[in-house]
Amino acid sequence: MSGRVDVLVVDDEPVVRDAVMRVLAAVGLTVETAPDAETALASPAADMCRMVLCDLMLPGESGLHLLRQLRARRPELPIAMITGYATPANADAVREAGANAFLPKPFDEDELLSLVRHALALTDVAGEEPRP
């Protein structure tokens, strides 16, 4: 591992993790993945990544729980929630818990990239680990 992680992707579906990784890697971003909240919180990537893409419905602890934990640990970290069950109620809950964005599944390459670029631009402005 290079010691630099741009995006931490948390999703229990391997196909989603792989697809996201593929798209992001193609634009030169480093991606770490985790299948559930526990693994994600234990991973060093949780402390060093520049943004998190996290599924709302995870086995075990929910995505909302992970979101709160990460938000408590790193208040400035951009976190985007993705979900296959996008309801207004879910969107509200996610926003209240401190997510920066909400992306309903399924999404295409453009939608994903635009979200990630926007999030990373924010971190650039915040001055946290600016990309070279």
Binding site: V15, A19, R22, G84, A86, T87, K105, D108, E109
Partner: protein, 662 residues
């Protein structure tokens, strides 16, 4: 046997009747006996008086033969036991029974006892004391009457000098009358009275039994049976409303309760279905969206990197477009489950129909079904969400294909799809909210007429009262009544919940002058109908003022097997399907929800064996002009909120909801 009300009532009443009649009979018989004895006593007294006075002169002149003859003659008469005359010492001087003559009787004998009981003889006695009743040796009763013969001047001065001046009582005349005849009469009367008493008890018990059976037992038994049926979940139970008085009221109250329970249960079942749709949609969305994410992300990723190969590029385009359509369908299902309003954009319905036809074309060709498309040229764009309407049309086409496929041994049938603009007159607006003057909800989601929840009311005429379901489409009269009413009868209409009258006194039918009944359609005013059976007078100022409305109509007609009347009422219900396991029962329910949320209508006409015709009408203009006036806008409750699953207030009113036509 378990005692019941009837048995207990009969037992109680029979006991009381028996006691009363028994005591009365006893008193009567007693009085009768006393009267008979008194009459007999008087007769005996009169007889002894007669004998005493008729023998008086014979005695004075000491003509003993004449006295003997008279006493014998009288003693032989019917009913007279014997007549005898004692002297002062108790010796029988004369008697109708000659064997007794010359015998002396003891002063303690029954004939003498009355006077001689106290030791010293009494000289004068009252009539009752002079009489006595005893039994003759053969057992029959005898009434004896004694008459002391007192000494008087004529007696001691008589020539015979038989009696001295100092004697007080010269002798006693004893007349004995047989009571056999009187006792026979008394026994006969007693028997008659007892027979009558038994008959009275039996008759009153029988009457009571019959009354309790007719008035109490049968209605109660039917009430118990119905209650048990309801307890076992049969809410179609109704007690025949034939009982009288309070039990009749009870039966009506029971039927009313059962009916309302049934309605509540139907609504509960509907919301259960809704909840199931919601759960299913959530599950489907979650499960399908993950693989779709993979497909869409990879496909769009590859699309940009396909280079210059036009074929690969076109293939990837198809994958991306269709995956996005899948995404829209899943979202549509979620939207239906949550009843979210569509995003209305100007949409070319002809284009929507063409796309829908292209999607199903392969399937239709496979089953040899011909599709004729007849699109109105220059159809104006209508406010709609294209994907949702396309889904509706695909649904209708696939249903039609199922209905005609295999009809003529592989020859297939045909489907015609047509678009056109129709001007719908002031009628044909669907009423989607109805309330009584006190605010009770009159819409019955459990009963649908041509797919839409009907308006229920109580109709009363003469001594009839029963439920009617009014056609919710204004101007159409497919009302359904539980009990039919003769043509021309002017009935009274009541709220089935609070029983408030639904007529307004001064509102009269323009056609026949009869009173009009109606319901408040939220802020859209009052819809009214004529209360005379058979008259098609109706009035709804808000809608009448609108004038004709323009609708874009999509008609999908087939010549398939048709829909039976039983199926017709349920085809828009979620999970109702006639296709067995091949259908989900969601197609028409989803379609209904989509069209309703567009402020449109979907209606169906069918003739079993000849075909079915679905018609989808969408308003050409979002907001009808009259609705834009400064009057308060109808709130969301008033319109277009009753989808096939009966949710209310779950969504804001779609634009144009007020002017939807049928």
């Amino acid at each position: 046997m378990k005692p019941n009300i009837g048995t207990l009532a009969i037992l109680g009443v029979a006991t009381v009747t028996a006691a009363v009649i028994g005591v009365m009979s006893g008193l009567l018989i007693n009085a009768h006996q006393h009267a008979l004895v008194a009459q007999l006593t008087r007769s005996a007294d009169q007889l002894s008086e007669t004998i005493a006075s008729s023998t008086y002169h014979d005695m004075l002149e000491n003509r003993r033969d004449a006295v003997h003859r008279e006493i014998t003659t009288i003693g032989r008469q019917q009913g007279i036991e014997k007549v005898r005359l004692f002297n002062g010492t108790g010796r029988v001087m004369f008697s109708s029974d000659e064997r007794e003559i010359g015998h002396a009787v003891d002063k303690n004998a029954e004939a003498c006892y009355a006077c001689h009981a106290a030791g010293r003889p009494l000289e004068r006695l009252g009539m009752p004391a002079r009489s006595r009743i005893y039994r003759a040796p053969d057992g029959h009763r005898v009434l004896g009457m004694i008459r002391p013969i007192h000494n008087e001047r004529s007696c001691w001065e008589a020539a015979c000098h038989a009696h001295g001046r100092d004697e007080r009582v010269l002798g006693v005349l004893d007349v004995d009358l047989s009571m056999a005849e009187a006792d026979r009469q008394l026994a006969h009367d007693r028997r008659q009275l007892i027979l009558l008493a038994v008959l009275a008890i039996a008759a009153s018990s029988l009457l009571l039994w019959w009354l309790s059976r007719q008035l109490i037992l049968r209605p109660v038994a039917s009430l118990i049976a119905s209650t048990r049926r309801v307890a076992h979940g049969d809410l179609s139970t109704a007690i025949p409303d034939t009982a009288w008085l309070e039990l009749g009221d009870l039966a009506r109250a029971f039927n009313d309760m059962t009916r309302r329970l049934g309605e509540a249960q139907r609504q509960l079942a509907q919301s259960d279905k809704l909840a199931s749709v919601g759960r299913l949609a959530a599950g489907v969305a979650h499960e399908i969206n993950n693989p779709l994410t993979g497909v869409l992300t990879y496909a769009s990723f590859l699309q940009k990197r396909a280079g210059d190969d036009p074929e690969t590029r076109a293939d990837l385009d198809v994958i991306v477009r269709e995956t996005k359509r899948c995404r829209d369908i899943v979202r549509g299902l979620l939207d239906f489950a949550r009843q979210t309003p569509p995003r209305l954009e100007p949409t070319d319905l002809n284009e929507v129909v063409r796309r829908a036809a292209a999607i199903v074309m392969n399937q239709l060709t496979l089953v040899h079904v011909r599709l004729d498309i007849d699109l109105a040229p220059g159809l104006e764009a209508v406010p709609a969400e294209a994907n949702q309407i396309q889904q509706v049309v695909v649904n209708l086409l696939l249903n039609a294909a199922d209905a005609v496929a295999g009809q003529d041994d592989g020859a297939g049938g045909s489907i015609r799809v047509r678009t056109e603009v129709v001007a719908v007159p002031r009628f044909n607006v669907t009423i989607r909210a109805a309330a009584c003057p006190k605010g009770c909800d009159l819409l019955d989601k459990g009963v649908r007429i041509a797919g839409a929840p009907a308006i229920h009311m109580l109709r009363r005429w003469d001594d009839h009262e029963s439920t009617v379901h009014l056609d919710p489409v204004y101007g159409r009269f497919n009302h359904q009544a539980a009990e039919s009413c003769d043509e021309g009868v002017i009935a009274t209409y009541l709220c089935p919940i609070c029983r408030t009258r639904l007529e307004i006194a001064e509102h009269r039918c323009e056609q026949c002058g009869a009173p009009m009944y109606g319901a408040q359609v939220d802020a859209l005013g009052r819809a009214e109908w004529c209360s005379r059976k058979g008259c098609q007078g109706c009035r709804w100022d808000t809608v009448d003022e609108l004038g004709p409305q323009l609708y874009a109509e999509i008609v999908v007609a087939d010549d398939g097997r048709g829909i039976t009347p039983e199926e017709m009422g349920r085809i828009f219900e979620p999970f109702f399907t006639t296709k067995g396991t091949r259908g989900t029962g969601l197609g028409l329910a989803v379609s209904w929800g989509i069209v309703e949320s567009h402020g449109g209508t979907i209606t169906v006409e069918s003739e079993p064996g000849h075909g079915t015709r679905f018609s989808v009408r969408l308003p050409c203009h979002a907001a009808p002009a009259p609705m834009a006036r400064p009057a308060p806008m109808p709130d969301a409750r008033g319109i277009a909120t009753s989808g096939p699953t009966g949710t209310r207030g779950a969504q804001p009113a779609p634009a144009g909801g007020a002017g939807d036509g049928a």
